[in-house]
Amino acid sequence: MTTYSQVVQYVITGITIGGIYALIALGFTIIYNTTGIINFAQGEFVMLGGMIAVSLATTGLPLLCAALLSVLLVTAVGLLFERLAIHPLKGASIITLIIITIGASIFLKGVAMLIWGKDAVRLPSFSGDKPFHILGATILPQHLWILGITLSVMLLLHLFFEYTILGKAMRASAANRLAATLVGINVRKMAMCSFALSAAIGAVAGIIISPVTFSSYDVGTMLGLKGFCAAIIGGLGSSPGAILGGFLLGILESLGAGFLSSSYKDATAFCILLTVLFLRPRGILGRP
């Protein structure tokens, strides 16, 4: 295998995983922008998405139905979480709210463990497992699905924020809460929407990677951390930054594992984070 085709293989792997990181990072960004909270339960949304979809699929539901239903259910969990645990706390400090998200993450993980047990489960691939070759690298159909769905989610989000009233209202309350309230936007309702939206995105991410990487009750923590990492690298609070950070992290991590040392693969990711923070503390596309 030539070095050239190796590089292609690493980059393709990196792009697929990077897409997932980017989706999770987007989830962080949406909640952070509207509420200022870093939602440590973001990874759990990803886990729930995958687990619920697998459960539904094993009951014989068509894959598409199972996936859609799973996204809806996870969105409901996100809504419920905001209503029950975040919303009632008027005027609590941000750090208190962050601890609540940590509590929620532990709680959701525990519930998932009770419902689904401790073993990993797998969703069937969307269209078979027959690999095909591009530029000397091999790639699974599922990788294309991941990339395609990731990009469409991003496009839909862009359209949502640019062209719908709700999206514009969310952007407005992210930009300036007081001003948004003055023009009649219910900022607190926007917080609810942001939780629902990022739960949905998390669920999508969880569903599309399940066929490749499996789902289990504790898969959320590391994915959540990497997504958070990606959000910071790109610049916390910036959506294009989250996408860029996600893909960058995925590709560099994969190249690092390939050419440097796979023992320190996770360390590579966090070293990138540290380097970015020291050189450009606000992230690559962060607002000054």
């Binding site: 208190t96 601890i99 609540i100 509590g103 360390a267 540290l274 020291f278």
Partner: protein, 329 residues
């Protein structure tokens, strides 16, 4: 200083009562090694949490990687004593100095910035340290961790039972508590509170905010290093899994649950979250669900933490009574 004079005696009483309770605790539990053992861990956690609380409550910075400093302290002391035959009392200053200087280096570039950049840097730093500890088997001799860390002795007096170690840990913990109390009540403390209130205002008044933040960060890391030292020599064996992200988060949780900017809150938070999982053992598989739920409930109903809620409760009962001053913040 004059302002604090009125407060100090009651605070001193508080500490005296606290020390008395600690001394009596072994008697109350019929010297059962299990309770003593739990209290040793409460003591070790208290030391880290007090430091983290200085950073979070007074300097307004979050660290998501404090377990790493704990780990560096533990491994530094463990390696020096187990591999190189160093005396624990020589390893202690080494561990504390190493953690403090590492913290200084990490804090230097990030603490000059506004916002929670330290949190993000410490998150990354914590993960890197954890992975490095995991890969250390060439140095520690076993992939599970470092074995054969000797116990501590003072002169010829060996601290070989849990009870003896309990007194060592809590002597150090009380020392750390008093030191931190003095810092909070000193010029640095006032400067820090100014930083927490409004950094810009503090800067305008000529407070070198970045320097103070950096000092507190290094101090809190040094505390964690001390705790790591105590942990390593108590356990006799250390493995990397103790010093991961999960524990960092637990520490932050202890600070917030206990109450930010409260020295006693740190003790309470550490005690509550160390003892709680032990109580939940009866719940078997349900323990982490209950733990998560309790954490949420405590934060939802007591957003300012256990101490503040208790103080408010006392205040509402004995309104305008000086008793409420006992719990300083």
């Amino acid at each position: 200083m004059a302002k604090n004079l009125r407060k100090l005696p009651s605070g001193r009483w508080g500490i005296a009562i606290f020390i008395l309770c600690l001394a009596l605790f072994p008697l109350l539990t019929v010297n059962n090694p299990y309770y003593i053992n739990v209290m040793v861990f409460v003591g070790i956690n208290t030391i880290i949490v007090v430091g983290l609380n200085l950073l979070m409550g007074y300097a307004g910075q979050i660290s998501l990687g404090h377990a790493a400093f704990y780990g560096i302290g533990a491994y530094c002391s463990g390696l020096l004593t187990a591999k190189y035959g160093c005396s624990p009392w020589l390893a202690l200053p080494a561990a504390v100095a190493l953690t403090a200087s590492v913290a200084y280096l990490i804090g230097l570039p990030t603490l000059r910035l506004k916002g929670h950049y330290l949190a993000m840097a410490t998150l990354g730093f914590g993960m890197v340290v954890y992975i490095v500890l995991r890969q250390l088997s060439w140095l520690t001799g076993d992939s599970s961790g470092l074995m054969g860390i000797p116990g501590i002795s003072i002169g010829r007096f060996k601290l070989d039972t849990d009870l003896k170690y309990y007194f060592l840990v809590w002597t150090m913990a009380v020392g750390v508590l008093m030191l931190s109390r003095n810092i909070v009540n000193s010029r640095i403390g006032r400067a820090l509170r100014a930083v927490e209130g409004s950094e810009t205002a503090a800067r305008t008044l000529g407070v070198d905010t970045a320097r103070y933040k950096l000092q507190v960060f290094a101090l809190s890391a040094a505390y964690a290093g001390l705790a790591g030292f105590l942990y390593a020599h108590f356990m006799g064996f250390i493995g990397p899994s103790t010093f991961g992200f999960k524990f960092s988060i637990e520490l932050v949780t202890m600070v917030v649950v206990g109450g930010m900017a409260s020295i006693w809150g740190s003790v309470l938070g550490a005690a509550f979250l160390t003892i709680l999982p032990e109580c939940l053992r009866v719940a078997e598989d349900y323990d982490i669900v209950i733990y998560g739920l309790l954490l949420m409930v405590v934060m939802i109903f007591m957003p300012k933490g256990l101490t503040r809620t208790t103080v408010d409760l006392l205040k509402s009962r004995w309104t305008a009574s000086p008793v409420s001053q006992t719990n300083e913040e």
